[in-house]
């Protein structure tokens, strides 16, 4: 196409105009699509699907679209902190820490502050592969969550993690300390969602102390206080039954309890792999008792000791 000389300036003008508009719209900030609730939900969906860049994009849009005193602002900060903390690859612990601290600054007493403080503690606990955590630091971090949010579920979760670090040492002194703390916790928060976990930790601590009776009681309580998800029908207690039964049989010598739980396994989980072993266990206990009865009867009659 041939353009006459006198039309060239106008063409140039329009070309510049188009380019300018493209530049303006091309560089314009992307707009948030939907309500803050929708954006937040979308951002977490991306996170769950492992689309971390998209999640960061949505959280950032949300952060920039609302005012700092809006609750969604803290939600966005928490989402950004979590994504930078836990995305793999290209996680950025420093950036994550900044976002978590920002949540604590903006909403110091809020729910997300509790989970941000817990996340900071978890960052100290979950060190890279090949390293060991500094357990004193880790415990201090969990204690901070417990102290600042004693009645909040995040505080309870931090408490359980804290006690697990003691129990995992398998050291009697740590075990005693954990039992004491867990006892107080259970008395204070009998309805906490972590009550079953607390009983299980106690069972391990009693195992470390060589106290089979309390260990068995704790194992049974851990089972009895276990939460059952009403929307998830699949709940396999077979391993719990097995675990209680072997503790009762071999640690506590409580054959009746052992029989109860071996039988529950056989009856409620007839296709479980341990069914054969449970049947064998019932026979083994019967035989042992028969042998001991004969022995006692012989002793009573003044026979062989």
């Amino acid at each position: 196409m041939i353009i006459s000389e006198n039309r060239r300036p106008r063409v140039s003008f329009f070309m510049f105009l188009v380019l300018g508009l493209l530049l303006v719209f091309g560089c314009a900030e992307p707009q948030m699509e939907g309500t803050p609730e929708e954006v937040l939900e979308r951002a977490w969906k991306y996170y769950a699907l492992g689309e971390f860049n998209a999640a960061i994009g949505e959280f950032t849009l949300l952060k920039e679209a609302v005012l700092p005193d809006d609750p969604f602002y803290a939600q966005a900060l928490y989402g950004l902190g979590t994504t930078w903390n836990l995305r793999r690859p290209r996680n950025d612990p420093d950036t994550a820490r900044e976002y978590y601290l920002a949540v604590l600054e903006h909403r110091p007493g809020g729910e997300l502050a509790a989970y941000s403080l817990l996340a900071l503690a978890r960052m100290k606990h979950l060190v890279p592969v090949g390293q060991d955590p500094d357990y004193d630091e880790v415990r201090d971090a969990y204690r901070r969550v417990v102290d600042q949010f004693p009645d909040h579920p995040a505080g309870h979760e931090a408490f359980i993690y804290l006690q697990s670090t003691h129990v995992a040492t398998l050291d009697p002194d740590h075990a005693r300390k954990a039992i004491h703390a867990l006892r107080d916790f259970m008395a204070r928060y009998p309805d906490t969602g972590f009550i079953s976990a607390a009983w299980s930790l106690k069972a391990i601590a009693y195992d470390t102390l060589g106290d089979p009776d309390n260990k068995l009681t704790a194992e049974i309580m851990a089972f009895k206080t276990e939460e059952v998800d009403p929307q998830n029908p699949f709940h396999d207690n077979a391993w719990r039954y097995w675990s209680i039964a072997v503790v009762a049989e071999f640690d506590a010598g409580d054959f009746e309890t052992a029989r109860t739980y071996y039988r529950r396994l056989i009856e409620e989980y007839p296709t479980d792999i341990r069914k054969y072993s449970a049947t064998q266990a019932l026979e083994r206990m019967d035989e042992k008792e028969a042998h001991l009865r004969a022995h006692i009867a012989a002793q009573d009659k003044g026979g062989a000791p």
């Binding site: 977490w44 989970y115 090949g130």
Partner: protein, 567 residues
Amino acid sequence: MKKFWTTCRTHFALIVVGTVFLWSCVAIALYRAAESPPGAIVLRIGHWQLEASVREALEQMAEEYRKIHPNVHIVQDAIPEMVYGQWTTTQLLGGTAPDILQVGLGQLPYHLWVQYYNRYCVPLTAHVNDPNPYNEGTGLEGVPLRSTFKDGMRSSYIEEMQEYVSIPLSQFGVRVFYNRDLLKRLTGLDEAPTEYRAFLAACEEIKKHTNERGQPYIPIAGSRYHLPMWEDMLFNPLTYGIKRLADFNRDGFVGNDELFVAIKTGRIDFQHPSIRLRFRMLREITDHFQEGYTGLTRDEAVFLFAQERAVFMSTGTWDARSLQEQAEDRFEVGVMDFPRPTRDDPVYGDVMEGPQYERVMGGFPFAIIRTSEHHGQALDFLLFLAGQEQNEELNRIIGWIPSVVGTELDPLLSAFEPHLEGVYGNFQINLGGETWVRWLQLYTLYQVNQISYDDMVATFEPFYKERGMTDLAEQQKDWRRAMHNNEQFLAGFRAEALLSKGDEALSNWIRYRTLTTSRQIWPEINRARQVRLLEKGPDLDAVGPYEYSPAVVDRVKERLKREMAGS
């Protein structure tokens, strides 16, 4: 004109390629149009079962379904197993996956499948407690969907997601197939012997005979594909008893770490009857395989069986129909359980405690893909295939075992009824790294009788004891990596719980707490126990894990005394 022909000659190859391309475009377009008339709902179903009977069965079930839903057309994408992993990945990533997809092929690692389930599959949890409408009028009417399956849909539940993602349409098992006519001709037996000694005697008898070409008959058709079936079903259960000495945490299983500690500390060794006899049995059975079986593939063994050169062959339900078809009009196929020694067997009696335990696990599982435009219809078609009558019919045509309870199966497959009570192997020698490589080298030599058991052990045991700790430590690094992954998905669960309300929130928080406890708290404690066991070893003065300590015996005795005094 001359110029035209010159051009044609010059660009002949290009023209041919172009023409073929155009032709294929037209052919595909016409084919697709025929498959999916305008306005019809087309459901594509992708799977890796190339067996003719599977495609035929799905086709027939689709026809049946169309009688109820005339507007729904089912199109199969049958993809060879060898490329199914790549194909699935490409289709899912490209957003072009079929509406319904067979999932779980071992070619892709499990963690990748979990990601695919999470990203691309529609969770079915909301439907598993609802009755299957296609069970109306049957004994399963009103029964929750998950309870209509023999495995309770256990195989469909993905713990990492706390969701059900697939529907299993069949059940699988492994047994020994045999040529009834050949067995009768060579041994005079009408039925294959399922007792070990009688089975070996039959094999010996078979070996003495040759066919009309002078070729010797082979008792058992084997290959590197078939050997693991014999190992799992017959040899490994002999090692069940190791549990009594080495299951230090009493969870019912001997882990590779526990076996290592037990051997390193001398609690047991490779001369333990359970272990030694496991390898003796391997020798006795594989002596009846054809020579060089470890270098052969599945097809080569099947060929021997189909050509009536071999009498027995181990394989699964998936081969039942094709073996029957290959044998048609020539010989009758029988199916038997693996030949186990009896409890009074002079050699194996003490270590053969029972049949191999078999977990009932549904197979042939299908998931619905998120990109499908017809989720509801796809689910409905899967429910149709999972209806009691339809599932029986589907599997009858294929020649497989139905996954739904109360269904009847082909008489040939009755021998596949799983052993729901039994023993299992406890010889977990794999520590990874160099010890595993060394073991595989030596074990391969043993399999082909180039090294004796004692020589194999003499070479391996010192190396295992010396190097095992290093390899195990390396393998255990995955533990902390798993903690990071768990933390990632738990944060997602927590966010979901924080955003939800009412019953949904309650459920989400329970899931979150359950997973937090099981995934992030116990592994660290279990790891601490494992490290202690590896570093300090078991208390050698203490009784075995399944033996009563004197203190326990005293307690029981005291109680019995009280009871006897009271009575």
